[in-house]
Amino acid sequence: MGMTITEKILAAHAGKESVRPGDNIWVDVDVLMTHDVCGPGTFAIFKKQFGENAKVWDRDKVVIIPDHFIFTKDTHANRNIDILRQFVKEQSLPHYFDVGTDRYKGVCHLALAQEGFNRPGDVLFGTDSHTSTSGAFGMFSTGIGNTDAAFILGTGKLWVKVPESMCFEFTGTFPEHVMAKDVILSVIGDIGVDGATYRAMEWRGDAVMSLSMEERMTLCNMAIEAGGKNGIIEADEVTTDYVKQRTDAPYKIYKSDDDAQYFFKKNYNASEMEPVVAKPHSPDNKAKVSDCTDVKLDRAYIGSCTGGKLTDFMAAARLLKGKKVKIDTFIVPATREVEQDLHKEKIGGETLVDIFKNAGAYLGDPSCAACLGGPQDTFGRAKDNQVVISTTNRNFPGRMGSKQSHVYLASPYTAAASALTGHITNPAEFIYN
């Protein structure tokens, strides 16, 4: 019987010919990523369990990317960065991207891609639930807690229950005003926030394969919002082109067999997809943008690992160019590289930075910022009972700051169109006029 790409990668890393969903296996880990929120706890458990002077299993496979609470005066948050530094020094870890230096990157999931740590066929764990993002590169990646991360630091291994796979196939062509964010929000709306619990979400079809790496990352990023263990897309030339620009490390391409078994399969006609939002307070609370145009907004937020990549800002800038926003609009590039691109990339002779500034938007430094609320002085943190349209991935109560705020999740196109009108707006109105 055939295997899915997820099963094949896990089998290979467990030294087995084949695995089946439900099997409990120990896999060898290629990369362990952690950040400022979970690193300190992970290191403490590692030392407690393996000894004060224990060394990590493989220095080259540990990647530490501070990104969550960066530009804050909060003393506890800043102490956590010091703990990262200390551990990196003790262990002489090469892959650390320190705050306040040229090496600082920003949001870990995009930084992993940009720094060449996402490689087809690998197994990557991260102490962050959106680690599923890396699955866009045809690899197995998922989020874990501090304990599991500490276990990996000491052993290079982790137990995994092989997930069943769900297949989401999109054929045809996505309309111009529909982005990957609309696609994932639609799917989460269809299956619910626990619709993929403990399962792999595999994306297939010519429409998916026509997407850029950044858009593919958006699809895999939000697998966790459906409860998924991982999101995954087979690697193709788009993938290998991206990877080869970033690393010389070897990779291996796995593909699902034709007779692989799926727990669930659904085919979508890409051309029928529409812009959607997730209404407060759940990512599966889907509604068509065209049904929400009476929702008045207080602010727009464009950023995060989901919606803070260059593609996302190109989309937003396309609509904001030459216009003024009607509500407070926050632009937060996910990483330094994206930030630099905002200064370089131009639309009609104007850089994205100038487009945003001239439109009256506020620009922040690359980090997670208000995606997860954060300390009180966080850039863009939602206040009081504000109604926010956001390109981030979660709209749980209080996620972006104030417990009384209301967050609508949307694509960068929809967020930008809505920033221009002050209410939820279909980007088609701007794109086709």
Binding site: W26, G126, G143, N146, T147, K157, D194, K403
Partner: protein
């Protein structure tokens, strides 16, 4: 392993996410410093919307003002308990507040795994939904051998699902002890 767990119930609804269990602004405290970690108990469940906090009535704080321990030690939840982020601060803050068991209809994957591998408390799955059966403050007893939960306030007994393959990790205490028992890592 203790064969019974007794305690007072704190009842929550569906999709209790990790931002409700411990809001992100509190993730800055040390989990290893004995004094500082008490903050996690203090702010456990502080993100739960008031109407949902302590069902059926709601508006029941999980911990009394400023206290790091809760008088409620068994949490009753609905579907998809612990969804959201991978922060282990979520099960940790519950343990710090004194939680010994959670009984929910279903769990989000990472939260479940963290609870088991870290040995914070036992995450049980109920056979039938408990949220409307049990009131916050009810006196409960879980019998691990029989896999049952009894509500001593209403004198009703309910079946719990078997813990399945994770029982070995739970019995060992956490993933490290389990790995030592099985010889995967050397005994300390």
């Amino acid at each position: 392993m203790n064969k019974v767990i007794e305690g007072m119930a704190y009842v929550l609804g569906n999709d209790v996410d990790t931002d409700q269990i411990i809001p992100a602004e509190h993730l800055v405290y040390s989990l290893s410093d004995p004094e500082e970690r008490k903050n996690y108990g203090k702010f456990a469940m502080s993100g739960v919307p008031a109407e949902q906090a302590g069902l059926p009535e709601g508006k029941i704080p999980f911990t009394e003002n400023g206290q790091s321990e809760s008088k409620y030690t068994i949490i009753i939840g609905g579907r998809n308990f612990g969804c959201g982020s991978s922060r282990e601060h979520a099960p940790a803050c519950m343990e710090i507040a004194g939680v010994r068991a959670v009984v929910a209809e279903s769990y989000a994957r990472i939260f479940y795994r963290n609870s088991v591998d870290g040995g914070f408390f036992i995450p049980f799955e109920c056979v039938t939904r408990m949220v409307e059966e049990i009131k916050t403050g009810d006196d409960l007893i879980i019998d691990l051998n029989a896999s049952t939960l009894t509500n001593r306030s209403s004198n009703k007994t309910y079946e719990l699902k078997s813990l399945g393959e994770v029982i070995e990790i739970i019995e060992a205490g956490n993933i490290f002890e389990y790995a030592r028992k099985t010889g995967m890592i050397p005994s300390a």
